[in-house]
Subunit: 219 residues, 2 copies
DNA sequence: CGCTTTATTGAGGGCGGTCAAAGAGCGTGG
DNA sequence: CCACGCTCTTTGACCGCCCTCAATAAAGCG
């Protein structure tokens, strides 16, 4: 633990250059940039939740483990996303970098006192987080494997201008997000491809061939 | 829709008497009490989310339907609980009274401008809602039927002084909360009773016989 | 007490999990 | 450049958990 902290100072210096436009972003001035290696923990389950994070580069997942190793992924975060405010007191999930990533870290209290704009930003982010979690709840509780995978691909393809979408995660992360196994995810992907709904050009890159059908399959 | 609104004024009058201590509760003074019959809708999916609700008497569930009738319950609320702030703009779930209930309804904007205390109340309630939803996520995604039911019973028994716990909902509501069918819920309840972990004195009333075992089975 | 709704129990089937093996991707080093 | 080893992905065979369908039992209610 202290080991990680000693490193953080050293890593800050390596990222003095702004990764996002600092002039337009008051949050960037108040925080510290920290680099994390692939699969490195950003914060742990049951840690205090007095910091707020923002993905500057790379991507992040939040995970929760059961004692026997079963894992549930809560959410994925991409560049620009805020995360870490899933709880007011202690984190229920831990956060890990999915690739070598850079994260902006800000004290929650600093944002609270900085003014209405940032306070409002936290509020809307928390609110959106709750919305997304409830959508996720419906997916886990009442959708079958095919609908789960279709929903997931549709979510990734949403708001992407290019017709080619790249997956920032492997099959295991997809499975643990969808409440499935990697084998089932793989089978459903093959099935979607066989029915010409999507087309995989590589294991982590696909195109949506028939968006209407994909949307229908996602319920 | 207008039908419901016409009724609301009439129903207000019937509940002029305070159900909760009004002197200690500034929220109660700003809102309106409305009575709902069993299974009546309090708000609908996709409605504007500019109101905040509090259960004065009875109990409330939030639900979401898929087009083919599959249903997911998001949460149950008991007397004193706040609900309706799962989203900042539009409700993703609808809310229904589980029994004949009385609900205090307050404009979100009224609470926001009323001062720090109430603002803080909304914040902590939203935050707790997010925590609970994430716990629910883990349950739906990675627990088996037995663990789901054990978790559910444990949650109900938590913070209840009496050793006898009463269920405010039927088997269908339990099933739709846990992502199971009523038959599976019933089987798991029978199984938990057969292994002397809990004991049902009636269909909606049980005692925890072995809390350690129940906790273990809930993961 | 009869009627309707809700809960329990049983039999059988299907979806997704488990186990296993083969294939693909990828960095390392010869 | 290919060979090699490692990880990740895909595919197949089989199994088990939970769902479906059905019948019975219990509970709620006028």
């Amino acid at each position: 633990m202290t080991y990680a902290f000693e490193f953080k100072d050293a890593r800050e210096a390596a990222f003095a250059l702004p990764e996002l436009d600092e002039g337009l972003d008051p949050m960037a001035r108040m925080g510290v940039r920290i680099a994390y290696a692939k699969d490195e923990e950003i914060y742990g389950q049951d840690e205090d939740a007095d910091l707020i994070y923002r993905v500057v580069r790379g991507s992040v997942r939040t995970t929760r483990l059961l004692s026997d190793g079963r894992r549930q992924i809560g959410a994925f975060y991409r560049e620009g996303d805020l995360f870490g405010f899933e709880s007011a007191v202690h984190h229920r999930f831990s956060a890990e970098a999915m690739q070598d990533s850079v994260v902006l870290v800000v004290k929650r209290s600093a944002l609270k006192t900085a003014g209405g704009d940032l306070d409002r930003m936290i509020w809307t982010a928390t609110s959106r987080e709750l919305e997304r979690t409830q959508e996720h709840l419906l997916l886990l509780g009442r959708k079958n494997a095919c609908e789960k995978v279709a929903s997931f691909l549709l979510g990734l393809a949403e708001g992407v201008p290019s017709d080619t979408v790249s997956l920032p995660m492997g099959r295991l992360d997809m499975a643990d997000y969808l409440g499935l196994t990697i084998e089932t995810v793989s089978r459903m992907l093959s099935q979607l491809q066989a029915s010409h709904v999507v087309c995989f050009s590589a294991t982590r890159q696909f195109k949506v061939i028939n968006r209407a059908a994909l949307s229908r399959m996602a319920q």
